[in-house]
């Protein structure tokens, strides 16, 4: 059998092409089978919101002479089609507040954060806190979030639009004094959606 130079070249080219094809398949991942929120999404949402809050006129316009605000937090109100664990609901609000420069805000913005009512109730039930702990707690505002979603399906695929709206609400005046949102879509292809 005569092996020519052309034959060797063709075989090499075939090998390269086959290798590149395998790389292309491996490099392009399988389409996502679900459109639910992942822990990475929780991190993304809270990071984005923390940035937005730091840059917000609500904080920017306040000075040390502004009326004192005492803010508490509650967990996310989940109105999406997705099941968000309770821990994640707290995480996404707490992480936003924890990312703020507390010392600076307390001094220069006359704004403080106080322990959440649920957390205080839980600790009191356990008997871990003294009798006098937080008796003078009097929040004027509450920071909360409402997550909503819209779902569209067709052609064997599903799209969920997630709208994560954060607010600070004046408890006495019922006024929403700050609001911002993070919004994005997630796409799932195939039959396994959730």
């Amino acid at each position: 059998m005569l092996i020519t130079r052309g034959t060797i070249m063709r075989k090499r080219l075939q090998m390269i092409l086959f290798f590149l094809s395998i790389c292309a398949v491996a490099g392009c991942p399988a389409p996502p089978k679900w459109s639910i929120l992942t822990p990475e999404d929780y991190q993304y949402i809270s990071s984005q919101m923390a940035e937005k809050m730091c840059r917000s006129p609500f904080l920017g316009e306040r000075t040390m002479d502004s009326p004192k605000l005492v803010i508490t937090i509650t967990k996310v109100e989940n109105l999406t089609s997705d099941i968000i664990p309770v821990a994640a609901q707290w995480y996404m609000v707490a992480r936003v507040v924890d990312s703020l420069p507390m010392t600076e805000i307390r001094k220069s913005k006359n704004l403080t954060f106080t322990i959440p009512a649920d957390r205080l109730r839980e600790a009191r039930q356990k008997g871990e806190l003294g009798e006098g702990f937080a008796v003078q707690r009097e929040p004027t505002h509450v920071m909360t979030a409402v997550f909503r979603s819209m779902t569209r399906m067709g052609g064997g695929a599903r799209t969920d639009l997630y709208y994560c709206g954060y607010n600070i609400i004046d408890l006495k005046a019922a006024e929403c004094v700050w609001a911002d949102q993070v919004e994005f879509k997630k796409v799932a292809v195939g039959r396994t959606w959730d």
């Binding site: 063709r10 075939q14 003078q136 569209r152 399906m153 607010n167 006024e175 949102q181």
Partner: protein, 250 residues
């Protein structure tokens, strides 16, 4: 000849694999998140309003409403701060859950609140049920669970002057015939005292979405497209200055 056949088959297989591999949605650092302004394949095949169109509607309504309310605050409200409340949505779309329109209504409110001028002129009040729920969380269900011990009386709802209180209402109509789906969305601002409409903005969109699976298998993505998309102009009426009592700013 046989070698050439193998060669061609190899090339075709390679192209096929590359195409199949890259046809799937890319998963990058975004974690599969896509901007809300895009329209995905599944949305094109769904007879309900596309989310990108609804987002655009809320942007348009918020922009127009902010401009008009700021103008009214200067011209008609005499420098007094009016109250805006999210009101009822009448959903006669037939196939779209009301939650979709509540999302849009909430988005309008959140967009409005991002304007400092708007916040100075207009107080946006939370829904009654929500504020009561938040207060209940703070106060506890039973008196012994009262966490605000320094202020044991539940805060009462602030008094509003109905002459300077406005509700943002929504009306949605859907007409469905075979593969055609027509939607009409209307957002209005009505005064609490007499129900007078002081702002209105409409949005109309029509989609053609083939129903049967065998039909859709023969059609490409471009088979579904909005047949028409239009914004209707808004109507604005003057508000009389005959209020007997006015709520002070702030």
């Amino acid at each position: 000849m046989r070698q050439w056949t193998k060669w061609v088959a190899g090339v075709l297989m390679g192209i096929g694999l590359v195409t199949a591999g890259c046809a799937s949605p890319p998963k990058d650092d975004d974690g599969g998140r896509e901007p809300v302004g895009t329209t995905t394949r599944s949305e094109k095949k769904d007879p309900r309003p596309r989310t990108a169109d609804l987002i655009e509607t809320s942007d348009q309504v918020a922009m127009q409403l902010a401009a008009d309310l700021n103008r009214l605050a200067k011209e008609d409200f005499g420098g007094y701060r009016v109250t805006l409340i999210l009101g009822d949505i009448s959903n006669k779309s037939g196939i779209v859950p009301i939650e979709d329109f509540e999302l849009i209504q909430t988005r309008i409110k959140d967009k409005l609140l991002q304007s400092s001028t708007f916040r100075d002129n207009i107080k946006v009040e939370e829904r009654r049920q929500r504020i009561e729920r938040l207060n209940e969380q703070e106060m506890g269900d039973a008196p012994e669970e009262d966490l605000l011990q320094a202020n044991p009386v539940r805060p009462s709802r602030p008094d509003r002057n109905p002459q300077y209180t406005f509700y943002l209402l929504g009306d949605v109509y859907g007409v469905h015939r075979h593969s055609t789906h027509l939607y009409y969305l209307s957002f209005k601002l009505n005064r609490a005292s007499d129900g007078e409409e002081v702002f209105s903005k409409q949005y109309e969109v029509k989609y053609d979405v083939p129903k049967s699976k065998r039909h859709s298998s023969n059609t490409s993505d471009t088979s579904v497209s909005p047949a028409s998309l239009s914004f209707a102009s808004y109507a604005l009426k003057c508000i009389p200055r005959t209020a007997t009592t006015k709520s002070p700013r702030g």
